[in-house]
Amino acid sequence: MALLEIKNLSVGFDTNAGLFMAVQGIDLSVDNREVLAIVGESGSGKSVAMLAVMGLLPKTATVTADSMTFDGHNMLTMTGKQRREIVGRDVAMIFQEPMASLNPCFTVGFQLEEVLRFHMKMDGPTRRKRAIELFKQVGIPAPEERLNSFPHQMSGGQCQRVMIAIAIACNPKLLIADEPTTALDVTIQKQILDLLVSLQVKHGMGLIMITHDMGVVAETADRVIVQYKGRKMEEADVLSLFESPKSPYTRALLSALPENATGDRLSTVADFMKNEAANAGVAP
């Protein structure tokens, strides 16, 4: 059985203009030792779907699904207390803005040890030892000293490493990375992606990469889901997606990559939409 299995997930938001459906009937499954990438533009509902799994959506959201199971637990009927025990320990998430997701008032060491205290019930010295070990694992130099730093004293790449250390502190079974490298430089991006993939292989985790960057997908994923306006457009393994994309939307996304530019102009998804509309107009 898959590690995370979601059937027919929909998420709607109550707005002044009525119900807005951010995710409409998404099926998704991830196995142990698998890297799944979810690709889409902003507003395609890729983050919202994962936030629904984590139970992090605001109260205005309504989440419905036929089933949503993680590692044998039914995530739909779970109480808040049960969910809090799993989230952070067995499922962990990394967010886009490393600077914004760390608390500026506490040292990074404190924030890392908090997870160990809450989920693993470790005592002080054991926590310290584990924290140093984790910092070494994610490649932060001089971990003993860095544990006492505040987030603003570290660079963006370093902060993202701290976030990763917090996420993998309890050896989660599933790691969800929501645009982990969008705010970072290419050279740092490469280091972070390599780190994530090596950790995934080493611990045999499932990894979900949420991204809008086809380059990141090509560098990390085993399987890819392409999402557009809350709907799944295509699901394929990474090689066949790049070799022979089935959905016209995927083709549009790939041709918008600057390195695939033919001639002077880049094709855009808007062009694709225009063609679609034209085709729909012709067809009865």
């Binding site: 533009e41 290419v186 050279t187 990474v238 090689l239």
Partner: protein
């Protein structure tokens, strides 16, 4: 040979930091002797990681920061804002577009005012003329006259970047400094904005200085490429030269770090993963 719009001769910029009550003052050499020339209608891309001084150089070119030493020539005229007053005429020649379209527009200013402001400050045009010009510019960047009375929060990231481009073009500059104009945007929106920039360059014969860390974008848009590393230029040449035959080890690292999305590299990666 066509006309040279921008020339830098050994530009240096130092920042002095620290030096509190007992602390010692430190000097950060942000830009260490950069020289280049740029012809009209061409695009120069400045590439490098964060902290390498590329944005500082951009600020010097836009006459926001003075250079510590070295010469900056715009349209053949030497200019140093530490010594001379910048005239409205000089301001008109160079404009800048910033990375973050969410931060570079005043949330309390309507789009019409955003576009009219450069004209109000630098020209003697009447309100009616300013309004007409702003309307025309909105259409040129792919928005409509109906957007004139709206506020920035009503627009998406790509649309805001179009507004920022429109504002920069209001004074018909000859040189446009683009500081990571598309790195905050989605892939397909990025493509739209890059297309727009290419169209505008053709239409107005603009010269671009394009600051970026994304090599795939640079390869698409640039004529000349300058790679910076810790304030120094480590590589400078035409796009073909730099991409075909990178000399410096940092440039090679940069190429290696850029994600490859061709089928061959994916196949190689999957094979490697299976073996591990």
């Amino acid at each position: 040979m066509s006309e040279v719009v921008l020339e830098g001769r050994n530009i240096v910029r130092d920042y002095h930091v620290g030096g509190g009550l007992f602390g010692k003052q430190k000097t950060v050499h942000a830009v260490k002797g950069v020289s280049f020339t740029l012809e009209k209608g061409k695009t120069l891309a400045i590439v490098g990681e964060s902290g390498c001084g590329k944005s500082t150089l951009g600020r010097i070119l836009t006459l926001i920061d003075p250079q510590t030493s070295g010469e900056l020539l715009i349209d053949g005229k030497p200019i140093n804002i530490a010594k001379d007053r910048v005239t409205a005429e000089m301001r008109r020649k160079v404009q800048i577009i910033f990375q973050n379209p969410y931060g570079s527009l005043n949330p309390r200013q309507k789009i019409g005012e955003v576009l009219g402001e450069p004209l109000l400050l630098n020209t003697n045009k009447t309100a009616a003329e300013r309004r007409d010009l702003a309307m025309q510019m909105l259409v040129k960047v792919g928005l409509g006259p109906e957007h004139y009375n709206r506020y920035p929060h009503m627009f998406s990231g790509g649309q805001r970047q179009r507004i920022a481009i429109a504002r920069a073009l209001m004074l018909s500059p000859s040189l446009l400094v683009l500081d990571e104009p598309v790195s905050a945007l989605d892939l397909s929106v990025q493509a739209q904005v890059l297309n727009l920039l290419a169209d505008l360059q053709d239409e107005f014969n603009l010269t671009y200085v394009f600051i970026s860390h994304d090599l795939s974008v640079v390869r698409y848009i640039a004529d000349e490429v300058m790679v910076m590393y810790y304030g120094e230029v480590v590589e400078y040449g035409t796009r073909e030269e730099v991409f075909a035959n990178p000399q410096h080890s940092y440039t090679k690292t940069l190429f290696a770090a850029t994600p490859k999305s061709d089928v061959e590299s994916i196949r190689a990666r999957l094979a490697k993963k299976k073996a591990a």
